[in-house]
Amino acid sequence: MAAAAPPALPTKLKGVQPLRTGEGHSFLWRRLHSLSGIIPIGAFLVEHIVSNFETWNGPLAYAQQVKFLNSLPLVRILEWAFIFIPLAFHALYGVWIAFRGRASVNVYPWAGNWGYVMQRVTGIIALLYIGYHVWTQRFSGVSLPENPAYAFHKVQVELSNPWILAVYVIAMIATCWHFAYGIWLFAAKWGITPGNEARKKFGYVCAAGGTALCFLGLIAIYSVVWKYPNAPIPSMAPQPAGITEPAPVVVTPGTTNPSQPGQVQ
């Protein structure tokens, strides 16, 4: 007798598939995406906007800030490990997340739903802007890590075009919004603010913080465009690639203090 008929294959449901228990690593990637928006990208955004605020004190102050940042130890490794690579991951994974959502604000025009859509819209604005900004200010034109004195001038030339100025202002608002709402979403999704009241209160905190950060950034734009028109390039020694040692001090034998020759204490 022939073997019994094989059991019917489990029929795949039509429509949205059920939960895939134990499959994939999307939990890890989604949580990394959420975290990377705050550390390191958000932390860098705050540093960047605070540093830009030095433009309020003029081209030399800004140049010194640029020089300071570029003299941090392992600065090129810091730049790739804590800015470029996390930013690229956050941006590309974020686009993938955004295009898998099905926005429905036309049917359900609720505040949280608008927040959901705006988080994706501002993220894409920020991505396009940052791509342009990193190319023009970091990887083309005069290289600022080696020539920090040109920093103010380079930005001023860029912002002299009113269209680019408008792009910078829009991108500043969009990026700060994305960061502030991102912190709020982080607290909600990671279970830091589960209660409705906690979420509401933390919403005010994020809104205040994001607005303050945005104003700092807009003031920096104001400084570059209007406060120091036609700013000169401050005179500043160029930043050498390596470390230069000062001239060695000749020590007289039998002396403990080079400035007091002959004295032994």
Binding site: L13, K14, G15, V16, Q17, P18, L19, R20, T21, G22, E23, G24, S26, F27, L28, R30, R31, I97, R100, G101, R102, A103, S104, V107, Y108, W110, A111, G112, N113, G115, Y116, Q119, L185, A188, K189, W190, G191, I192, T193, P194, G195, N196, R199
Partner: protein, 263 residues
């Protein structure tokens, strides 16, 4: 004075079988005050004729209790996911306050939920929720070959937190309105996450807590939530769904970290 016969205009998206093409039929039915959508569909079943007088079939839809407790009659009413039994015709026609007159020039539109496979007309297949509830073991394991005796005591404080979550009627409205619940993500949806919390908080059900938390970290799990919060806005039973997602998000994360270091 001859009174003009007052009627309600209804447009219904219909589909005779799962793979048939959807068509829209219009109906005009006599107005009575205080109708709901199920009574309106009942009127059509009494006299299944379209607005042009052509014979048609009664509308197929799921319903059972007619008092917003069984969860079967969710559908799109004027484009929004609602329970047909608790959707009042007068309100849909603009009479929100007592004594206001409904605007009978308006048309009510009915359609099946958009994210579930249509069975026929307004009836959809919501098995995905049942599969998801099975995946997170949304139950208390009390079956044995002998009498297991009395269960552990449940403190009233825990009971008070659990009660709102136990009100879920599995209507799937939270999933229908969720921008993340779709074919691309296969997101589990708010209802299942809330039920996992309900049973994790049960003194006897908590024995499966770790399994539930691991299940919710699989693909399509809690991480797909985008916190648009439509679920909590649309839930007809007012479940604290966003609170449940937030709490479970923390618990799932802690479980993943624990598993990473100790398993």
């Amino acid at each position: 004075m001859a009174a003009v016969a007052k009627t309600i205009k209804v447009e219904i998206k219909r589909q005779s079988s799962p793979d048939a093409k959807a068509v829209t039929e219009s109906f005009e039915i006599p107005y009575r005050p205080n109708m709901n959508i199920t009574s309106l569909l009942g009127e059509i079943a009494l006299n299944p004729k379209t607005i042009t007088g052509a014979d048609t079939t009664p509308i197929t839809y799921d319903s059972n209790c007619l008092e917003e407790i069984c969860g079967s009659c969710a559908m799109l009413i004027n484009g929004k996911a609602m329970m047909a039994c608790s959707a009042l015709v007068d309100k849909l026609l603009g009479a929100h306050e007592h004594g206001q007159q409904p605007d009978l020039a308006k048309t009510i539109t009915l359609a099946p939920l958009s994210k579930f496979p249509v069975v026929r007309d307004l009836a959809v297949d919501r098995s995905v929720l049942f599969e998801n509830l099975k995946a997170v073991k949304a139950w208390v394991p009390i079956d044995g070959t002998y009498d297991l005796g009395a269960g552990p005591k449940q403190h009233p404080q825990i009971q008070e937190q659990r009660y709102p979550l136990s009100n879920c009627i599995s209507c799937t409205i939270c999933m229908e309105v969720c921008p993340q619940f779709n074919d691309a993500t296969g997101f589990v949806g708010a209802a299942t996450i809330a039920q996992a919390k309900l049973f994790n908080m049960d003194p006897a059900g908590s024995v499966l807590k770790e399994e539930r938390l691991r299940a919710l970290a699989g693909d399509g799990g809690i991480q797909e939530c985008g916190f648009a919060q439509n679920c909590v806005q649309a839930c007809p039973k007012g479940l604290p769904l966003t609170e449940a997602i937030s709490d479970m998000g923390r618990d799932v994360f802690v479980q993943q970290v624990k598993d990473f270091f100790t398993r």
